[in-house]
Each structure stands twice: as structure tokens, then as C-alpha cells.
């Protein structure tokens, strides 16, 4: 059974965070991945390709609006205030051992350098599951990214796991 202060977060949406997809951020992430795809690196090449300009690797939806809270532990800042609230509620309820469980993306449009994306996060579910080493608590965050033209470019779901509860 989920404690009430945790269960009440199901269905809650966070505030919309707006972020710019910077060229430099695209290069830094491509470098960290070790991906030399010229669509991420080479302006001229990308312009002459079917993409028509530098794009971001799928799954990279922009340099997060970081430092906003000045919290070094702000793990996935694009989750906005909602993530912070969730972490606090889980901490208070005694959950420990937070891990990234996995991701699910729908890609509808390319994300381009210079795009401005508005991301609205939402907690769509929190469930308990029996794992190898006891009860796992899974939280699903869903982020909808909308670009400056009003197009939904991606829907992204992230499952966060807590491995135990004290």
C-alpha cells in the first residue's frame, strides 16, 4: 500500500519548463555519447541533408533549464518542481535507493538546434512491484515536449525506481 502523501501525487502535473535547444549542448551530448554523426556536428553537411540543419540526437530534448533551484542533487531538472516534490514525499515516507528504471519515447518531429521546447511533466502512475530483492516502487513521469510552432515533438516516459522503504 502506498502511503497517502505518495499516492496523492498520481496524476499531478508540474509547471511547464521552457528550454532552448542549443547547438553547443547538442555537440556536448553527442561528444559524451561518442556519436560523430555529422547531423549533430557539421552545419553545412546538415543544411544540405534532408534534415535541413543541425538536429539533436533522438532523446535529447534540450539543455535542461538547470540551476533554477540551485540544488546540486536536482537529478532530472526538466521535471521541474514536480520532481522535487516527489523526491521530498518519497524521502519523507522512508523510500531509499532511487534508480533510473527505464525510458520510453515517441518521436513525432525532429528536434532542431534553435528550437524552443516547452516541457510539461506529469506523474502518471506510482505502483509497487515484487522484485528479486523485495518490493520495488515504480513512478512513471510523462513529459510532453512542444516546440515553438505548437507541434508535439515527443512524448517521453521515465520510470524511476525506489528499491526499498525503511
Amino acid at each position: 500500500m502506498l502511503p497517502e502523501e505518495v499516492a496523492k501525487l498520481i496524476g499531478k502535473a508540474g509547471e511547464t519548463v521552457v528550454m532552448e535547444v542549443e547547438k553547443g549542448a547538442i555537440k556536448r551530448i553527442a561528444d559524451a555519447i561518442g556519436d560523430s554523426n555529422p547531423l549533430y556536428w557539421d552545419e553545412e553537411y546538415a543544411r544540405n541533408s534532408r534534415c535541413g540543419g543541425i538536429i539533436a540526437p533522438p532523446g535529447f530534448t534540450g539543455w535542461p533549464a538547470k540551476w533554477r533551484w540551485n540544488l546540486y542533487l536536482f537529478y532530472m531538472p526538466q521535471y521541474s518542481d514536480l520532481y522535487r516534490e516527489w523526491v521530498d514525499a518519497m524521502d519523507k515516507a522512508g523510500y531509499t535507493g532511487r534508480l533510473d528504471g527505464g525510458w520510453e519515447f515517441d518521436f513525432f518531429q525532429l528536434v532542431r538546434a534553435g528550437d524552443t521546447l516547452a516541457c510539461t511533466p506529469k506523474i502518471t502512475d506510482i505502483v509497487e512491484r515484487q522484485g528479486k530483492s523485495g518490493t520495488l516502487t515504480l513512478t512513471t513521469f510523462e513529459m510532453t515536449y512542444i516546440n515553438q510552432n505548437g507541434d508535439v515533438v515527443s512524448k517521453t516516459r521515465n520510470n524511476m525506481i525506489y528499491r526499498s522503504r525503511s
Binding site: 556536448r28 540526437p57 533510473d100 525510458w103 520510453e104
Partner: protein
């Protein structure tokens, strides 16, 4: 990748292999990733904190492993292909190699991104394939498993 020839839907059958991609995670890679995405969770750079969370030592970011698998898929489908869906689950933790010098990693494990086509179909006017994708660590364990759906160009 640009130099590779474009993959067409007609070239692919159920059971076809996604061209594998090898990767090495080092402590340096993790620092780069942390800076690039703004993920400063200490479990990715602080051994004692990671140990206190029963992880043994610092672990590779799941989202980096995810991005490796996405790179394998986009390399394989080529520039005329479009990745439509991608999902993955993290099944086990991975530990980065240490650095021997400022540019060279110590000896250690190499990771392989791999995949296989599970379905070939048309949908919404697109020629699509579904694939299982996974990441194998140096011990042969599948620490990340997922699925990808891509639209490929057709010769028709």
C-alpha cells in the same frame, strides 16, 4: 552514418541483425555525460556514496546506455530513416573503466549494443520495422534491454 550506404526496407527481414556498435564507458565518459545533460547524481562519480547505496561503486548513467542504443539504431537506419519509438529498461548496473592517461582507458570491459528485427510492416503509409535492442557488458550480461521502431525508405 554518412559514409555507410542507406538501408532500405527491402533490405531487412525479420531476424536481420542491427549492425552492432561497441562502446567503452570510462570515468571520463561519465564526467562528460554528467556535464552534457546536467545529471550530477553522486552515484555516478562518488564511490563511497555509491557504496552506501548498495551499488558497490560509481555506476554508468542509465541514460548514457540508452543513448548508445539509440546511436546504434540511428546509425543503422541511416539518414533517410526515422526513429519513431524507442524504449529501454535498465536490468543491471555497469561500472566504468578507469583512465590510464588523459586520453586512454585502462584495460577492462567493452560493451556491445546489439539488436534484431522482430517485425516488418507498413503503417500510416510508412515502411516500418520493430527491433529488439540490448546492451551486453564485458561479462556477457544484458544490462539494458529495449525496443525500437523505425520508418525506413522503400525502393518502391
Amino acid at each position: 552514418m554518412a559514409e555507410q550506404k542507406q538501408l532500405y526496407w527491402e533490405d531487412v527481414e525479420v531476424g536481420s541483425e542491427v549492425t552492432p556498435l561497441s562502446k567503452i564507458a570510462t570515468t571520463q565518459t561519465l564526467v562528460k555525460w554528467a556535464g552534457a545533460v546536467g545529471d550530477f547524481q553522486p552515484i555516478h562519480y562518488d564511490d563511497s556514496l555509491a557504496a552506501s547505496q548498495r551499488l558497490g561503486k560509481r555506476i554508468v548513467h542509465g541514460a548514457l546506455k540508452r543513448s548508445w542504443l539509440i546511436q546504434m539504431t540511428t546509425d543503422w537506419i541511416g539518414e533517410q530513416g526515422d526513429l519513431r519509438k524507442f524504449s529501454c529498461q535498465f536490468r543491471g548496473v555497469d561500472y566504468p573503466r578507469f583512465m590510464k592517461s588523459s586520453t586512454e582507458p585502462e584495460e577492462g570491459e567493452t560493451w556491445w549494443c546489439k539488436g534484431k528485427v522482430t517485425k516488418k510492416y507498413t503503417e500510416g503509409g510508412e515502411h516500418r520495422v520493430d527491433c529488439d535492442v540490448w546492451l551486453e557488458n564485458g561479462k556477457g550480461e544484458l544490462t539494458t534491454q529495449g525496443k525500437a521502431t523505425a520508418a525506413l525508405p522503400s525502393r518502391d
